[in-house]
């Protein structure tokens, strides 16, 4: 299940093993048979660490989902709650504990907080009068979860909101802790670079923690050459843009059709799931078993194509098909027994490749088909769009292209200082609010703030059409800087765009030669900064760095004597890029592209607080997205 974690430049399986060890230790602390009551949100992240079999080996006999009322009966000695430190969950636990029938089933209660225990929660448990009934309160420090061979995530959904909206920097503390764990396993990282307030905080905490643990230096040869910490708020534009890689399309499709998506799996109904309208509507009741495909680098072909621009998928699959066909043809050339034997030995691998190719071909076909007919997997994923666009399918793809055109106009700086008629039209048609907010924020970001008059106009239109209560959401967006009035007359976005070459006219999606292929022309700012840092260095872009919020810095950490790495001629550097506040699949794709560049010289491992896309990100900033 985890082999793919060890194939990369850095063996992330070590981290996973460390996490499993701790989990086993905790389970063994509660001697005897046990049942786990899960905060449902945690099952996904835990699934990346352990399978049910591991829990079973440690006497976990039953598992339930956390909900109010009385716990289901289970003949076990221990009940363990695996929960995030949230007050509302404490109330449910209290209800569970209070309604427990002490006479008939004397069971011991334990809480395992993930990733940290919390004073507030314990106080709440005390108020509810159940704190004393808990035998063990412990924490399971799950800061960085290995997501893929080159990807780590903290799965902390609220990190951006907490840092930039609520000034709660606890997630930064967890980040620093996670980076310390990583250094304990993979050696001290000699160089730390960063840009942004939060990056500065994290670096400070790391340096401080290192001083505090000065005695316990790890004697491990450093695996990472450098760490780059990036605040999400230095690049607000990238997540707002519609993502165009195969990976994002596929995940979008699944979220769109099923509303849920397992962390690293995608489920697809079999063969004829070539979305007929009806079938999409009744998707849940499909009689057949769905196909499951693993969405990580364990799947060879997927690893190869996921980061491609969706428009290049057809060509890529067709090329692959030819290679496989040719490989099968080889059998005619196999004359000697030795050759035949060799051919046969390769057969299983070839068959697997063939079947994987078949799957992705039908998925790609399906995405094209659905996009054509149903639109907007990309633009928005709200359920009600279905009914709206099923009947107006022609206008669907039109709307999709219009949306992309406007995005590209903003990114290239066309008319960003005027009220945009497309946005006006979308409001008039009552398009989903998230779509409107994304576009308005994008315009604001690309214009370094909107003229007060224009900002007021948009705000009024939005409040009048969607309801005054959205004032709270607009207020949140303003606080985070996504939406703001222009304070100076100077709009420095064009300078940033030109210096960092954020817009490439001739982006080549088929055979990319630059990261701008991920957005069909737009090169993500965050990745450009990463690229420039590797070569020629940030000194060349001092001016632009000053235009972006927060300080930029470089720190060095002393290595114990004898641990200095001697680089071989032509050996690549390894850089860990940490996105504080979330990273998009497009950015990941762009970094993977840079890693694979022949003369790149640097390979990247990516870490983040959470994998995001424009919709999920804006949603996390809304005040009660599901308000009645």
């Amino acid at each position: 299940m985890s082999a793919h974690l060890s194939y990369g430049r850095v063996n992330l399986n070590i981290l996973r093993e460390a996490a499993r060890k701790e989990l086993r230790e905790f389970l063994d602390k509660c001697a005897g048979s046990k049942a786990i009551v899960w905060d449902e949100y945690l099952t996904g992240p835990f699934g990346l660490i352990a399978q049910y079999s591991l829990l079973k080996e440690h006497e976990v006999e039953k598992m339930f989902t956390l909900k109010g009322g009385r716990l289901p009966a289970a003949d076990v000695k221990n009940i363990i709650f695996f929960v995030r430190p949230r007050l509302e969950l404490m109330d449910i636990i209290a209800e569970n504990v209070i309604s427990e029938d002490k006479m008939h089933s004397p069971r011991d209660f334990h809480i395992l907080f993930v990733p940290r225990r919390s004073m507030l929660c314990e106080q709440r448990l005390k108020e509810q009068g159940v704190l004393g009934s808990l035998i063990n309160i412990d924490e399971y420090i799950l800061d960085l979860i290995p997501y893929d061979g080159d990807l780590l995530s903290m799965e902390s959904e609220g990190a951006f909101r907490e840092c930039y909206l609520e000034s709660d920097q606890t997630s930064l503390y967890h980040t620093a802790k996670g980076l310390m764990t990583l250094q304990a396993l993979y050696g001290t990282i000699p160089q730390i670079f960063g840009k942004g307030e939060c990056a500065r905080h994290v670096a400070n905490m790391m340096l401080r923690m290192k001083r505090e643990f000065a005695g316990s230096q790890t004697q491990i040869l450093p695996v990472f050459d450098s760490l780059l910490l990036l605040d999400r708020n230095i690049d607000l534009l990238t997540p707002l843009a519609t993502q165009l890689t195969y990976e994002d399309n596929l995940r979008g499709l699944c979220r769109f059709v099923y509303g849920v998506l397992d962390l690293c799996y995608v489920k697809l109904p079999p063969e004829k799931f070539a979305a007929q309208k009806k079938q999409v509507e009744v998707g849940k009741d499909l009689p057949t078993e769905p196909k499951k495909m693993q969405l990580n680098s364990a799947e060879e072909l997927y690893a190869e194509i996921r980061d491609k621009n969706f428009n290049a998928i057809g060509a890529a699959l067709s090329k692959k098909a030819k290679i496989i066909s040719a490989a099968f043809e080889e059998r005619h050339n196999a004359k000697t027994v030795g050759e035949i034997k060799q051919f046969v030995s390769q057969l299983p691998h070839m068959q697997a490749a063939r079947s994987s190719l078949a799957n992705h071909t039908s998925i790609a076909e399906l995405i094209k088909d659905i996009t054509k007919r149903l639109l907007l997997i990309l633009v928005d994923r709200g359920k009600w769009i279905f009914s709206l666009f099923l009947s107006h399918s022609d206008s669907a793809s039109e709307a999709f292209f219009d949306n992309l055109t406007v995005e590209q106009e903003f990114m290239t700086g066309v008319d960003t200082d005027k009220v945009n008629t497309y946005i006006e039209d979308c409001i008039a048609q009552k398009d989903p609010l998230i779509k409107i907010l994304r576009l308005v924020c994008m315009q604001s970001v690309c214009n370094n703030g909107l003229k007060q008059k224009i900002l007021d106009y948009y705000k009024r239109e939005i409040l009048q059409t969607y309801g005054y209560e959205h004032m709270l959401t607009l207020n949140n967006l303003e606080k985070t800087g996504l939406l703001k009035p222009q304070t100076s007359t100077r709009n420095n976005y064009p300078t940033i765009r030109k210096t960092l070459k954020l817009w490439m006219e001739d982006a080549n999606e088929q055979n990319p030669n630059d990261i701008s292929y991920v957005y069909s022309g737009y090169a993500p700012l965050s990745i450009r900064l990463t690229q420039v840092l590797a070569r020629p260095g940030w000194r060349s872009i001092e001016e632009v760095l000053k235009m972006l919020p927060g300080p930029h810095f470089e720190e060095r950490q002393q290595l114990p004597a004898g641990l200095h790495k001697k680089r071989q001629q032509g050996e690549n550097r390894t850089t860990l890029v940490f996105f504080l506040g979330g990273v998009t699949y497009a950015e990941i794709a762009a970094l993977r592209f840079l890693s694979q560049m022949e003369d790149g010289g640097t390979e990247y491992i990516i870490a983040t607080t959470k994998l995001i896309n424009g919709t999920s990100w804006i949603k996390s900033l809304m005040d009660r997205p599901e308000a009645p």
């Binding site: 786990i36 009966a73 057809g314 292209f401 992309l404 055109t405």
Partner: protein
């Protein structure tokens, strides 16, 4: 909605966008087919094996069998039946269990117990982070307490900051605490968050936010009214005022219309019964409702479109679009016509619109306007190319024929003649033009 039609060709053909076409014939799609064919041909070469081999087993809900989330459901459902039966047969025990010994070693009560240790603020915060025993009570003087707070803020650990704040709140007067918090922004935010969580006090927008929890409309209105006096920013104050005014009016309109509808006095309600109450709807929806049920009322009534437009400062475009939507839905084409008609001082009438006529055509078409109505607006589209493409889309033959005639485009007329039914009035019209015109 059609945007930038004239540029369309350029749009599709420019390299930037080309790849986005979804035509079946496009390159990419052909390649997909090609790839599929290749796959299929390979398939026939080798023995068909069980699909399950490369496709892992999943339960219907989609989780891989054996995964944690799958197992949660499985192990739970196997005992659910017995569990729920038992659930009903035993009354819930509502009394809290007596508070026994504290075995967690980390509870708040143990935190505040005096100890003899003398840790510095830095050490204390570190101990707190490590989950070791510590004591805050020895920080007695205001200065000590503030040093502790600053140390906690430096650690960026919200959990520790909150714990220190709880202690300060207990041991300091409100005035003292606030005075110090003002100069410590991060600590202040944590404090606000803390208060928010334990619902002691609300601040401005947070207070306003509370209205969402009130179901009863009258109570909600009164609550919003009480918010009016809060010191919002001028911007927010306007919005809160508007929100209050809106709900106040909705309550009046709702009561009135409900009564009228049930008494059966007004035809409009009989013909188009109201589907939902207007309460708590956004202003634009309210305006639509007003244009639907209360069109033509004098400016003086709360429910008249004109009054709503004025009170809530609705932009010309929004007003027109909303009004058009409502009147077109009712097929009140005369009202639609009047919306665009302006008279100049000589008494000539002219049609004007703050929005491009191509959009008006779209809206009318979506509301099933007859061709006669449609073509009038298609004719008003300024751009000739866009006009023709719209006319073709909605089969407004007259518009097409007249445009080609005005352009003196004989060739196109001949082509178009081939598209219309032989002998139809359109056909005859084209014939007539072709024979009258001189080459």
């Amino acid at each position: 909605m059609i945007r930038g039609k004239p540029d369309e060709d350029e749009y599709w053909n420019s390299s930037k966008f080309k790849a986005f076409t979804f035509d079946d014939e496009d390159d990419d799609f052909t390649r997909l087919k090609e790839s599929k064919r290749a796959v299929n041909s390979i398939r026939s070469l080798v023995e068909e094996e069980d699909e399950e081999d490369d496709v892992e087993k999943v339960s219907w809900s989609g989780e891989p069998v054996g995964s944690i989330s799958w197992s949660v459901k499985e192990t739970a459902s196997s005992i659910r039946s017995t569990g729920e039966v038992r659930d009903q047969s035993f009354p819930k025990i509502n009394t809290a269990p007596s508070l026994p010994k504290n075995s967690s070693g980390y509870s708040l009560s143990s935190l505040f117990k005096g100890t003899t240790h003398d840790w510095t603020p830095e050490e204390t915060v570190k101990r707190m982070q490590q989950g070791k025993v510590y004591s805050l009570e020895k920080f007695r003087s205001l200065q000590d307490k503030l040093l502790l707070l600053d140390e906690a803020v430096n650690a960026h650990d919200g959990n520790v900051i909150t714990a220190v704040l709880i202690y300060l709140k207990k041991s300091l007067s409100k005035e003292n605490l606030f005075r110090e918090l003002i100069t410590r922004e991060i600590a202040l935010r944590h404090y606000i968050h803390f208060l928010k969580e334990i619902e002691e006090q609300k601040l401005l927008l947070m207070q306003y936010r509370d209205h969402l929890n009130i179901r009863d409309e009258n109570k909600r209105r009164d609550f919003l009214k009480s918010c009016l006096s809060l010191p919002f920013s001028p911007d927010d104050a306007t919005h809160v005022q508007d929100h209050y005014t809106l709900l106040e009016r909705q309550i009046i309109i709702e009561a009135n219309d409900k009564q009228v509808e049930s008494s059966g006095q007004a035809d409009i309600f009989k013909k188009y019964p109201r589907k939902a109450s207007i309460l708590n709807m956004p202003i634009i929806t309210t305006l639509y409702y007003s244009c639907f049920y209360h069109y033509g009322e004098s400016d003086g009534t709360y429910s008249s479109p004109a009054n709503i437009r004025k009170t809530f400062r609705i932009s010309d475009k929004q007003f027109l679009l909303t009004c058009l939507g409502a009147r077109a839905k009712l097929k009140a084409w005369f009202d639609v016509d009047a919306l665009f008609t302006t008279k100049n001082w000589l008494g000539y009438t002219k049609k004007r619109s703050p929005i491009g006529f191509h959009r008006i055509v779209d809206i009318l078409q979506k509301n099933n306007a007859p061709v006669q109505v449609l073509q009038e607006y298609v004719n008003l589209v300024e751009d000739a190319e866009q006009k023709i493409s719209l006319a073709q889309k909605y089969k407004c033959h007259d518009v097409i024929i007249n445009t080609y005639r005005d352009l003196k485009d004989r060739q196109q007329l001949i082509v178009y003649r081939g598209k219309v039914e032989r002998g139809s009035s359109e056909y005859r019209k084209i014939e007539e033009i072709l024979s009258n015109s001189v080459r």
